[in-house]
Symmetry: C2
Subunit: 326 residues, 2 copies
């Protein structure tokens, strides 16, 4: 392939490493550089890709087609994406659902100024789950949509446990309740309470001499995070935590139920079973980087969401190959 799409990664944590692996599986792309806020020398040992400080980004403007933004949604992306957009085409996986409209507006302003394309909130939720909710609701507008998450590790809930005094480390799994899942798959459309849809399994390593029952109560009663759920707390050793709970599996299901006429129920389901959440999310970012590159080439500019991107923009295949795939 003559002209590969030239990619930069910004942020080299779990997600950045997932993106790096995904780029290696996409022959029309090459990874040119990694931007980091940390000391580039420290990162450089972990990868064969050149690593430079985020401060040097201006020097790369003509050498990069798309920057894949791999920072966190809490503080990194809201700061970094508006900084990069306008100078570079970008893609990100900003996932704070409630803040997407205001985040979009900020990125839109920069991207319109620079005439670049920035696709925000790719990934799987938001992202592939959003797309599947939209397709199902557009086709069957009078239906009801359920989203189940898990079985998988929730970083937010794991962090919440880790912040408790006396907790050395912790991993929290979100698990959809099978009864609820089966009931929806069979076309029923109940109103679930929070407790009826998911349960939470916590694996906790304590500091020496800490009272187990006190910590257990503190977790189970934590408002928002655990109080509304059936929560199980397991105390394990740090060794076991590292050995058994170092993976980052996740997944879930979007299920849409609708009647197209009396008694004719239609059930649409999209499900993910992911052995590695960051590697899957990284793969989605890479496909949307291709779309950003192409949309810019076709004359588009501004902030985009996954809803604005036609499926053909994501694929390496030619128009003729795609026609055979319909």
């Amino acid at each position: 392939m003559a002209n590969k799409i030239r990619i930069a990664i910004c942020g080299y944590g779990n997600l950045g490493r997932g993106v790096e692996k995904a780029i290696a599986k996409n022959k029309d792309m090459e990874l040119k550089v990694i931007f980091t806020r940390r000391e580039p020398e420290k990162i450089a040992k972990q990868t064969k890709t050149p690593v430079v400080s985020i401060e040097e980004r201006n020097e790369w403007v003509d050498l990069i087609d798309v920057v894949i933004m791999c920072g966190g949604s809490a503080t990194d992306l809201p700061k970094q994406v508006p900084m990069f957009a306008g100078m570079f085409n970008t893609v990100d996986s900003f996932d704070t659902h409630a803040d997407i409209p205001s985040y979009f507006a900020k990125v839109e302003q920069e991207a319109q100024k620079g005439g670049t394309v920035s696709i925000i909130s790719t990934g799987w939720d938001p992202g592939m789950f959003s797309i599947n909710r939209l397709y199902a609701e557009a086709i069957l507008p009078e239906g009801k949509t359920y989203t189940f998450w898990g079985e998988g590790v929730s970083q937010g809930h794991s962090d919440a446990i880790r912040r408790i005094e006396g907790v050395k480390n912790a991993i929290q799994y979100t698990i959809p309740k099978q009864e609820a899942l089966e009931c929806v798959r069979n076309g029923e459309t109940p109103e679930f309470t929070t407790r009826q849809k998911h349960l939470r399994e916590c694996y906790v390593v304590l500091e020496a001499g800490v009272d187990k029952s006190k910590i257990e109560a503190e977790i189970k009663n934590m408002p928002k995070y655990f109080a509304d759920y059936d929560t199980n707390v397991h105390f394990i050793s740090e060794e076991e935590l590292i050995k058994e709970h170092s993976g980052m599996p996740h997944g879930g299901s979007v299920i849409h139920i609708a009647e197209t006429s009396e008694e004719n129920k239609q059930v649409v389901e999209y499900s993910l079973k992911l052995a590695s959440n960051p590697e899957f999310t990284g793969s989605i970012l890479v496909a949307y980087a291709r779309a950003a590159y192409r949309m810019k080439k076709e004359g588009a500019s501004g902030a985009k969401t996954v809803f604005d991107v036609a499926p053909n923009m994501l694929s390496m295949k030619t128009t003729q190959e795609l026609l055979k795939m319909v």
Copy 2:
């Protein structure tokens, strides 16, 4: 809503009736007219919508935004869609996979001439299944995709049985083999034979005095349709056939398996459980009619496939509402 999208249906069989029901659930649309090849008076008794002969279509050019083509793929659509495209925006569910590229070329020629938009081969396979295969393969290009059909009624296979001399009526169900389905859902990637993926259940009503074992052998040995499958033949009365087998359920699954790195398997599944195949397909056609209308308004023209249509084009929601849904 001030300006509803003005729809015409061409062809009033099972699919046409499914489209009529779907339009009633989409408040931004109204069904203006049904075109038929048959005598309009006969159809008129079945519906409140005006019914006119297909020959009168020219008189409706300024009164219709999109024509939803509901004929069969074997003979109707290849003849009718090029006849309507160029004068009207159209959508159809042409489903002869192998002929899609040549069909596309024919429709493209007419639509480009007339400056109209024609979205071909919507429905669920081709259609939603194609989209899901494309998304999964674009995100995880080194994976393997499996498609399972059923449990559901195959019209083609039912017809094949009905053509046998001595058969009065028949319904054939395509059923995915649970072992194969489970194996793929668990992330295995075997090569299946035809027999390993699906089985075929046939419910057959015989003419009086016909030899059951002869017919059973004839069905089971029919090349292409049944010979490569485990096929079960059940002889039943016409009364039972009408009572138990008049529904048109269908469905299936697209499952994509890929490794993003050693031992990290990712499983993506899209599944449909449809009580009524024509009503679900009709609902998809209606959503793509909205897309055809909008794409034309935005200045597009020519033949399009589902791959060319961004998800936002299908939805009744406003841009601001969609942003909240990402």
